[in-house]
Symmetry: C2
Subunit: 263 residues, 2 copies
């Protein structure tokens, strides 16, 4: 099972939009996908019209409830473990717990259901919830809006992945950066993309979790449909399967699966 954390401590850069629609795209391509909503604001859950019924990720982390009991099937091959607002309390409740960053890893290890992909939507912080994701995934995908603060936050994010990789999870790698809310025609976008490419170039020779990180060639263009579909409790594929948002997330899923776009 390939485990992927969708991570960026900067707010509002398309983490949830990416987690939900990439998971949905992979399921449409025939993969079996589990999405974990790790944000107390529960936007991924709300996006898919799901409220906690049988259990939430809060109960998994704080009360050791099995993932199996909390998981709901959203669509064919597409499962969700929802979040709830109580998860905000977890950061304080877990503060003193031994191995508090490894609770999700334990929960996944105990889970018998098989998936091709487990995708985790992280909150806009590098706190205990995000650390739980980092401690058990192989890949980090970083959605990034090509604005000024993009580069600033990136070095702090990478520093954290370095720490987790050394202390908790030797398998951790930054697979790549997904450009989101992409608008090609601005000079700011071009400057930030150039800076990012430069940064990734410079990291190639030095051993680190982001040594092989790349800019995904698929860019998620700004498309109002992606902002509309959460209000209908749907992924973009159930809402408007022909719009740019759907095209872009399908293309990203194919890139991740290494299937040629028209192959």
């Amino acid at each position: 099972m390939r485990k992927i954390a969708i991570l960026n401590q900067k707010g509002g850069v398309g983490k949830t939009t990416t987690a939900v629609n990439l998971a949905a795209a992979l399921a449409k391509l025939g993969k079996k996908v589990c999405l974990l909503d790790l944000d107390p604001q529960a936007h991924a859950s709300t996006h898919l019209g799901i409220h906690k019924t049988q259990g939430s990720i809060y109960e998994v982390l704080v009360q050791s409830k099995p993932l199996q009991q909390c998981r709901v099937e959203v669509d064919e091959g597409f499962w969700l473990v929802p979040s709830e607002i109580d998860l905000a309390a977890a950061e304080v409740e877990l503060a003193g717990v031994v191995g508090r960053e490894l609770l999700l890893r334990d929960a996944l290890a105990a889970d018998s259901m098989l998936f091709d992909f487990c995708i985790m939507d992280c909150p806009p912080s590098l706190g205990i919830l995000t650390l739980n994701a980092l401690a058990c995934v192989q890949d980090i995908f970083i959605p990034l809006q090509p604005h000024f603060f993009a580069l600033h936050g990136l070095s702090k994010l990478l520093e954290t992945t370095g720490l987790v990789s050394r202390r908790l999870n030797a398998d951790l790698t930054v697979a790549g950066i997904i450009l989101t809310l992409y608008e090609n025609n601005t000079r700011l976008t071009q400057e930030v993309v150039a800076d990012l490419n430069q940064f990734l170039e410079n990291s190639r020779g030095v051993k680190s979790p982001w040594q092989k990180a790349r800019l995904f060639s698929t860019r998620i263009r700004k498309n109002i449909k992606l902002a509309e579909c959460p209000s209908h409790g749907k992924s973009i594929f159930s809402y408007d399967p022909k719009c740019h948002g759907a095209v872009d997330y399908t293309e990203l899923a194919r890139e991740i699966l290494n299937i040629p776009m028209h192959g």
Copy 2:
């Protein structure tokens, strides 16, 4: 001194852009303004090209350093107390401290320097840093992007203001909602604005901190200049004083000061 928290736990909705440029606009209109950067990601500080030199809000909250010693003058009548990444640790360090939500209130009470406005840029969460702001301000301004999750987060935010108002700060009121990243031509925008207006209408009769909250008539339009100026370490007024971003934040400042736009 009028104390204002710029608050919304949703990420990336223009809190920092508003805190910085509203503070700058008020200073341009002759007011004496202090901006407090309460976000460990220190974007307001970075936006203005300031790194902590003599002290940061972390030392104020955790080590009781006087605000006076940390404050830097950014521009005429415009002062900043910067943040730094160590502030992220404060949430854990302060977890057990008695009266941990009242540390900023104490610091402001001990501050002898007089300002017309103290504006606080809050992080995208309702944790201890944001609570410190809520425990000592009179007004909350909520920057809000008219997208689906806007309304969802709003009720949780208001619930928190209710708690703080009852337990810690009877003066707390939600003054208003500032529409940000505003693009008039989408149906989604119109729907969300209509829902917001409805919600505010319904709240009029019930005693609560948001009973008199209004939608500011000034809307901050999407303008790439606002995204560019942080990379130059400037407010919009030093970067491009004639662009829409500068016009909108000046208009917002005037609305707040109750000066007619052309009066």
